[in-house]
Amino acid sequence: MRNLPILILTVRLAGAAHFGGLEQLSTDQRIAVAQQAVAAAGEDAATVNNLAAAYLQKMRETSDFGYVEKAERLVAKVLATHPGDYEALILHTEAELNRHHFAQVVESTQRLSKTAPEDARLWGMLGDALMEIGDYDRAASAYEQMVQLRPGLSSYNRVAWYRFVTGDAAGAISAMTQAVHAAGAAPENLAWCLVDLGHMYFKTGRLDEAQSNYTAALETFPGYHPAFAGLGRVHAARHHTVEAIANYRRAQAIVPLPEYAGALRVLYLAAHHPAEAHQQDELLDVIDQLARATAEKTNRSLAVIFADENRQLPRALELAQNEWNFRQDVYTYDALAWVLYCNGRYAEAQSAASKALVQGTPEPAFYYHAGMIAAARHRQEQARELLAKALALNPVWDPEQAAQAARTLDALTGSRP
């Protein structure tokens, strides 16, 4: 009877699969089932892979990187005894993507696609890695394969991303709306898409639509920190400082990302709470300390926040340059441009900024950064155009930066257009 639990589990899993698979369960339930299965049949590769996959989903929901490490250990065990196990290789590649090992992901997915050209996930991960390093043409081809194989939330949201980065905001919103309609069983997946859709609306100046999508995300997956941060950003744009702070604080209490600290600092200063603002600075420094302790060399988000604050500028430059050594996508060019500008290296900043703009990505911050750089280089006409473009996308995208953009534009023209 040793294999009886396996048999029962097989029947159960078959039944569960009848309802669309274990993804129907909540992630915690999924982990519990998978752990039971491993206890009963730990030598079975598929059983261990299931648990690793559940951990990766848990990581998505909690931002707790420890789950990636757990998944990696399980996958390594499987590959030790089953070296070619396909599902284990896929999970390994997903973990690598989480670790930003983009070149490796490109190589692995291309290799695996020779044996399994019809696995949509491979093309998705390949496209993701290519987008991260700025190889947009090849990313489009990879995403094309993915959506042909499996149209649905996972592929539509990637099409939306490609369109956004390459300057097609309307097409991006349309594709992401379809992704949202195709929502799967894991509420976090839908919430993720709703938040991303909210960002696209926000960046193109549609605050009401942004807000309703962030709110929908919270209804779908309560406690979803990016949705709280999104609401914080909308409130900040409307100058509702108290609500903005409350929402960012909730986001920060769940996962203390540097972006939340950066936003709170600005909001506390606006609310005349310098002590609280200073706390956020201390937090950013702690985040940086931890990063140094783990020999983390790249961090463009932190670099940009330091640059916005006009402090830790050498460190910001180090972080941004290291990131650029590693990947050259438009977001990295933008981070590098801004950090170079804050370090007074205007010519290099301009070169980087022009590369950030080459795809026409509708990010107000890109145009603001480029505009300020152009002004510093006394390119008045260009500066006016760029700053106006930032404000045209969203005149209130960031309370401090939008105000600065408007002031600079005024100074350059004498009157607001």
Partner: protein, 517 residues
């Protein structure tokens, strides 16, 4: 490092150190990669000769499973971006000769209303509409979210297909979920308004209904792995003769109290058969549109349709096909299923049954399983019908009369009731038990057909209807009950002091406690 530590900072530090997030973690996209496609997910497909008219055949395509009846505010619309299809092969090449296509459209009729359906009595204060008693016109004011659909018949396939609109200019409304007795006071009457006659003997119904499937999935998932309650022989999964013969449940039905979305169509048999042959092969499939990555402008997504899911035999994908090939299977066509023959003819589950119970199972290759994947005389009764390619189809001999209710058995063909699975599939067929036994060799004849394998759940929690659409209407958000282990809803051995059997033929009306471990 820090001058002082405030409680706030300490708390955030604790979060950082306890669950260290690499600060870079936010700066890459991490889009969901393997999201399940809920609305396009086919959970069951049924095909059977209509009980009340043996000249007709009924197909049910069930999608979007495990719908919790209480889940407002919008409940469970069909997806307007999914193409739902039912396909029929009547030339025995596993390629569709006739298909029926369904497309849905959503109307938001009252944009300011926070919930899909609302209503009470005769209305309240001009704000709350009257209770919902109709799908259209008076009595439908509370249907703030409403769907209608089109039905298209396709003859042939590919570029030469001939498409005929069957909707006929009518508005076909989908039946919403059952919110509860206040909003929808006579739900059955409301749901019946969703049965539409399209002429030429065709009837359709689409909407949320009670999920007709029943199974014990070990609902809690955190207790011991299997049921050893009194009703089993002492060996889980092997039933006593009495419980096997019973219509009552020896274990809790995990699907009790849940709804599902169904698309039901009844057509004359003559519409789907050809060349005087009575047997057809059928399956269901869902599609989504491809999208071109590089496009400008809104309203994209009008690329060609791509199949995302298909189903014919129940549980084949789950039980038979290996994990790595499931996606490939979902995208592929039945006519190409010989690529999966290795799985079909040597199922892993059979080996497990053999190892665990010491029950001899037929040796591979399992030619006894061929009736599930080819046309065989066991179902067709006609040796002039070719076997056709190996293909996962539900094969239905429309010449076999439906079994009257009294002689209908949940074990169908295995109990001598040849009007059920694997001859087509009816909602009451216990496909879990049948599949277990078939995999263990029940179709191979003695000694392989003696194992009373089963999960202990023999019937649905609510009675089915004997007329179209043959399922119970949706359970209400207010009154539905999920029967969990330890709760009443099981048993045929429960009697009161007068030796009255407290249970009836319907699972959830039984009063015995369902086993816990």
């Amino acid at each position: 490092m820090l001058k002082r530590s405030t409680p706030f900072l300490a708390a955030v530090l604790a979060a950082l150190l306890g669950a260290p997030v690499p600060a870079f973690a936010a700066s890459h996209r991490e889009a969901p990669l393997t999201a399940l496609d809920h609305p396009a997910d086919i959970t069951d497909f049924f095909a059977f000769v209509s009980y009340d008219d043996p000249t007709k055949v009924t197909f049910l395509l069930n999608v979007d499973p495990l719908l919790e009846p209480a889940n407002g505010p919008n409940y469970f619309p069909f997806d307007p971006e999914v193409l739902y299809t039912i396909k029929i092969d009547n030339t025995y090449d596993a390629v569709e000769d006739i298909s029926f296509e369904f497309r849905f459209q959503t109307e938001i009729r009252a944009p300011g209303v926070y919930t899909g359906f609302i209503g009470a009595g005769a209305g309240i204060g001009g704000v709350i509409p009257p209770a919902v008693t109709a799908l259209d016109g008076a009595g439908a004011a509370g249907l703030s979210l409403r769907q209608n659909y089109t039905v298209t018949m396709v003859q042939g396939s590919g570029d030469t297909a001939v498409r005929t609109d069957l909707t006929g200019g009518k508005k076909l409304f989908a039946v919403p979920s059952n919110v509860g007795p206040r909003t929808m006071p006579n739900y059955a009457a409301l749901a019946r308004q969703g049965i539409f006659s399209l002429g030429n003997g065709v009837r359709v119904f689409a909407g949320t209904v009670d999920d007709p499937f029943y199974i014990d999935l070990g609902a809690t998932f955190d207790s011991a792995n299997f049921r050893t309650g009194a009703f089993f022989t002492g060996s889980p999964l092997i039933m006593t003769a009495a419980d096997d013969a019973s219509t009552l449940n020896s274990a809790a039905d995990t699907v009790s109290g849940y709804n599902v979305n169904t698309i039901a169509i009844e057509v004359p048999i003559s519409m789907v058969t050809a060349n005087g042959k009575a047997t057809i092969g059928a399956w269901g499939a869902t599609y989504r549109q491809q999208m071109t990555v590089r496009s400008a402008g809104p309203n994209q997504g009008s690329g060609p349709w791509v199949q995302v899911q298909r189903m014919a035999n129940p549980l084949i994908n789950e039980v038979i096909i290996g994990t790595g090939d499931k996606d490939k299977w979902s995208r592929s066509q039945p006519k190409d299923d010989s690529q999966f023959a290795a799985y079909d003819l040597d199922p892993v589950l059979a080996k497990a049954i053999n190892t665990v119970f010491g029950l001899a199972v037929p040796p591979a290759p399992r030619t006894d399983l061929l009736p599930l994947v080819q046309y065989t005389t066991a179902i067709t009764g006609d040796s002039s019908i070719p076997a056709g390619p190996i293909a996962d189809l539900l094969r239905l001999n429309t010449g076999i009369q439906p079994a009257p209710a009294a002689s209908r058995s949940r074990l169908a063909l295995l109990a001598g009731d040849n009007a059920g699975f694997p001859n087509g599939r009816r909602v009451s067929d216990d496909v879990t038990d049948i599949a277990l036994r078939v995999v263990a060799g029940a179709l191979a004849g003695p000694p392989y057909n003696l194992y009373r394998l089963g999960d202990g759940v023999n019937s649905n929690d609510v009675p089915y209807q004997e007329t179209f659409p043959y399922v119970a209407f949706a359970q209400s958000g207010r009154n539905r009950r999920h029967v969990d282990p330890g709760e009443p809803g099981c048993g045929n051995a429960v009697q009161n002091s007068s030796n009255d059997v407290l249970s009836t033929s319907s699972g959830s009306l039984a009063q015995g406690p369902c086993p816990v471990n």
